[in-house]
């Protein structure tokens, strides 16, 4: 049984890899491929949410914070490198003092930028986790708290017109680590980078799920107090999952910036934070592939349906969400196992 499950997962992983790295670039136009690249970024966030929520029971409605941290760090680096070694990004001349703020300076360095994309969201999540989980805040209270953080973060960004572009956000990037962003070849390369990152993240959570830590995380999700009596501090176990999920969201945000060409408070607040979650719920939050595939499918459906019926999508999304919650509370990817269970029961 176990061995069979392993093979099925390997086959699933190979199928996802082939679809993303071979099939999609072969059949999709540059425009569609770039769209898919954006959805892949959402999928990376979704993989993290699957870990934190599906396996760890932390309903995190505020992944936009970490997504935004990664995205803004990347955007600041791109603006600075477009402006040249000592130059000043265009918008700072328009709205700001015309001087690069001192806290921008470290992000001129590409190495510092890449480290910061992972470390800043991780450290913020660690600090929040210490404050939240140690105090045994959980369930709906944690969900509300995380959502409030996303709202506060977006408001904070809106207020910083002079230093990070306010409502407009940061946009108009011309190059990505020296590569021209207007060149279609480089745009395709960005897609490959995002898709490979998603695959790596899937491997990371796969290893976590099959490790002893993964088993322990399920135990904490289902019976947090019981775990305490076995000598573990559940807060530490939850913090690990929360930090990994935050790092994934940060990386996704950083990839989102060059692919989409803009990051603004509208992409990191409450609404996008909830949107991240819908794909995870529909795909199957505690499964390995469900969150990523659900996120891509929902985003894809949203785009295609909004193109044909501009005001119709929101109803479709609502209906899909209701149907899944009512009939498949564990998500679409559990359809198969539901049938086998019925057959075994019969």
């Amino acid at each position: 049984m176990k061995i069979k499950g392993e093979y099925a997962k390997i086959a699933g992983f190979v199928a996802v890899a082939l679809a993303l790295l071979v099939l999609a670039p072969a059949v999709l136009s540059d425009f569609r491929l770039s769209l898919l690249g954006r959805f892949v970024c959402y999928a990376i966030v979704a993989v993290g949410i699957g870990l934190a929520w599906g396996r760890g029971g932390m309903l995190t409605l505020g992944q936009g914070v970490f997504f935004g941290l990664g995205a803004y760090v990347m955007a600041m680096h791109l603006k600075l490198s477009d402006a040249g070694p000592t130059g000043v990004p265009d918008f700072l001349k328009l709205y700001g003092s015309g001087v690069v703020p001192s806290w921008w300076e470290p992000f001129r360095n590409p190495v510092v930028t890449i480290l910061a994309i992972v470390l800043i969201p991780s450290l913020v999540a660690f600090g929040l986790g210490m404050a939240i989980f140690r105090r045994r805040v959980r369930g709906a209270y944690f969900a509300i708290l995380s959502q409030a953080l996303a709202a506060a973060f977006a408001i904070l960004l809106v207020g910083q017109q002079a230093t990070i572009g306010g409502t407009n956000g940061l946009n108009g990037f011309r190059s990505f680590f020296g590569f021209n962003l207007f060149d279609p070849v480089n745009k395709r390369m960005l897609f490959y980078i995002a898709a490979s990152t998603l695959l790596v993240m899937l491997l990371v959570v796969w290893q976590l799920y099959r490790s002893r830590y993964g088993e322990l995380l399920i135990a904490v999700r289902d019976q947090e107090e019981r775990v305490r009596f076995l000598g573990y501090d559940p807060a530490n176990i939850k913090i690990v999952a929360y930090v990994v999920a935050a790092a994934m969201a940060g990386i996704a945000g950083a990839l989102f910036v060059p692919i989409v060409g803009i990051i603004s408070p509208a992409s990191v607040g409450v609404v996008p934070s909830i949107a991240f979650l819908i794909g995870v719920a529909i795909g199957g939050r505690s499964t390995l592939f469900g969150p990523a595939l659900g996120a891509i499918a929902v985003a894809w459906a949203q785009t295609s349906l909004s193109e044909s019926f501009p005001s119709f999508w929101i109803y479709f999304q609502g209906a899909l969400f209701v149907l899944v919650v009512a009939f498949l509370p564990r998500g679409l990817s559990t359809v198969g196992s539901m049938f086998t269970r019925r057959r075994e029961a019969a």
Binding site: M1, K2, Q207, L208, R210, S211, R212, Y213, E215, L216, I218, A219, D222, Q223, R226, V227, R228, F229, L230, G231, Y232, D233
Partner: protein
């Protein structure tokens, strides 16, 4: 041979002015199978909660000269004090083996945690044997029979390397045969551990207790062997009084 013991001195638990445990003093030696009985509301479970860190208490509870009271729950567990709950609380989505493996692993480092379990740890293997669930190791704990879940809980205490076992109504809802098996299991475990069993079932107590403490209204009413306690007029009064009220 070193003999460990659990020593409670004047343990007191108060909830908003209500005294649930009112100055309990008792000593339980290793190898003793101590039963803690008493009417509902006598403070039995609260006493266990206090020792395991679930509720704040005053007084002193020591095991091997280490003070247990008012430490964090998981720290007390690591000192070798384990407990079960009235309702079996195993991890239902995990298998029997995974449940035991988690219970055995509180001291594992990050490197071990992030890898897969390559082989069944020997202590888990022997616990599976002791609790008689070897054949069901890959079964989900959620589908076990009620009695098997309780045995799994006891097995988890064993692999956790608990020296003090506090069992809260381990045979509630079990069949006569399961009670017998559980009692024998506890006797075997009790040789090397300090075991305290909170129980309502008097037949079960008579068959397996080596000593008994009777709690009433948060105080120790009587203590001794089964025969001594049963002959104690104070105990008879409390239990008979209750019977009259119920009738």
């Amino acid at each position: 041979m070193k003999t460990d013991y659990l020593e409670l001195t004047d343990v007191r638990v108060t909830f908003d002015g209500f005294v649930a445990v009112d100055g309990v003093t008792m000593t339980v030696l290793q190898g003793d199978l101590r039963f803690l009985i008493g009417p509902n509301g006598a403070g039995k479970t609260t006493l266990v909660d206090a020792i395991t860190g679930l509720v704040p208490a005053t007084g002193s509870a020591t095991f091997g000269r280490t003070e247990l009271l008012n430490r964090k729950v998981h720290k007390i567990a690591r000192l070798g004090v384990g407990r079960t709950f009235q309702t079996a609380s195993v991890f239902e989505e995990l298998t029997v083996l995974q449940n035991l493996d988690i219970a055995a692993g509180a001291g594992r480092g990050p490197f071990t945690m992030l890898r897969r379990r390559s082989a069944t740890p020997p202590e888990v293997e022997s616990a599976l044997d002791v609790i008689g669930l070897s054949d069901l190791r890959d079964r989900q704990a959620g589908v076990l029979a009620h009695g098997q879940k309780q045995w799994l809980e006891i097995g988890m205490l064993l692999v956790q390397d608990s020296k003090v076992l506090l069992l809260d109504e381990p045979v509630a809802g079990m069949s006569a045969e399961e009670r017998q098996q559980t009692g024998e299991l506890l006797q075997r475990i009790g040789e090397n551990c300090t075991v305290v069993v909170v129980e309502h079932d008097m037949d079960f107590m008579r068959s397996f207790a080596t000593s008994v403490t009777v709690l009433h209204a948060g105080k120790v009413l009587s203590e001794g062997t089964v025969a001594q306690v049963q002959a104690d007029p104070k105990v008879q009064e409390v239990y008979l009084g209750r019977a009259e009220v119920q009738a």
